[in-house]
Symmetry: C2
Subunit: 231 residues, 2 copies
């Protein structure tokens, strides 16, 4: 697993395969690009690919892992520079879509695995996945590091639901056929503002009773999670 174990040759071949796969996936889509074609393009035997990736889907996963890493890096900057909740959310989600854009043509496969409850890679699955945990941690930091003063009950659930919100945006994006995904960016802009408004409203004492019922409901249907260390 650890990259330190990788021999230079292994790294080179892995990259050759990824380059070949990207080319073919973009050109013909995931299903139409066969492992044999990828092998030819990468100048290796089909069987060799399986030395570097457990399955064809894992090749796509590798691209997504790359996006995630770039995104994590970008978020460090964003979250250091910006303290307003709304702007933090806007930039983080915007960046995610922007980084994923080159892979849009075949990113539907990811939601394919995401929808399968049996699949351990599914972000909704009960078992914890490192991928989801990292992504969730990011949203926790997005919330906790912001300048927003949140009621305790809101603070308890906000990060998790912003994560879910992000999933919804991605689902919309995958089906968005407008040029350059303009509609998705527009949706982000509108919904981020809306969320900000809701968060502000949620602090009004007048509606506290309703809000508390609401957040209690939202907490109940979140997947169980271990208690986290304070902050």
């Amino acid at each position: 697993m650890s990259k330190s174990r990788m021999t230079p040759k292994s790294i080179r071949t892995r990259k050759k395969i990824l380059d070949a796969a990207l080319l073919l996936f973009v050109e013909k889509g995931y299903d139409q690009a066969t492992m044999r074609q990828i092998a030819v393009q990468a100048n290796v035997a089909p069987a060799s690919i399986y030395h570097h990736f457990p399955t064809k889907e894992h090749i796509v996963q590798a691209f997504y892992d790359g996006v995630l890493e770039e995104h994590t890096q970008a978020c460090v900057d964003i979250l250091r520079r910006e303290t307003r909740l709304e702007q933090r959310l806007r930039e983080v989600v915007h960046k995610k879509i922007a980084l994923a854009e080159p892979f849009k043509k075949f990113s539907g496969v990811l939601f394919r695995v995401a929808s399968d409850p049996q699949n351990p890679l599914s972000p909704f699955s009960a078992q914890s996945s490192p991928t989801r945990d990292k992504s969730l941690a990011q949203f926790r930091q997005l919330v906790s590091g912001s300048s927003a003063k949140l009621p305790a009950d809101v603070d308890l659930i906000l990060a998790d639901y912003l994560w879910l919100y992000q999933m919804g945006i991605i689902l919309y994006w995958i089906h968005d056929t407008s040029e350059h995904s303009r509609k998705t960016y527009r949706l982000i802009e509108r919904t981020v503002k809306l969320i900000q408004t809701l968060v502000e409203l949620s602090s009004l004492p007048l509606i506290a009773p309703f809000r508390k019922k609401f957040t209690k409901l939202m907490l109940e249907f979140l997947p169980d999670r271990e208690k986290q260390a304070g902050t």
Copy 2:
């Protein structure tokens, strides 16, 4: 396509295949049940299955079509008997899950196709699918036939978003591992009440401005649709 064209023998064989497939899908799951096993169980040659179903996924689709038909039938009763919006929604969604329960083990495949934008069967795809249209029409009737007095802007979008809400419930249900999907039913109960509350609140003149901004936003990101005849 039309069933009137089906010869008796065709109907019998089709049923044999569906019975065999159901048995094996439930027993071993969709992926583990092979076409050859289904063929053996149904006492036909593998190739014969393809005379009745274009692909393996279409077998699952057939089960879903069955559920949809039963549900449509059940909804006629529900919507005739009950006029309160909340109760109509509760019963319609509850019934859907209840009817789908026998197929839960392999119903993830449906969301698999649902997530693929290329797939014309996807309920989110741009092209209209008869399946989605029927389902949407049901929710339009659910809203328009209810006793609720709705502001025009709410009325314009409510049905579509209740349909989307139902999709969310199904997604939750697919990943719900609690016994008898208790958590899903609980979620339905809670969210239906919440929706009712929101609909009631939406009629308060005090918050009309906010509501109108909100519904305008929601309308913008709904897929384009032809104008419907009045009612």
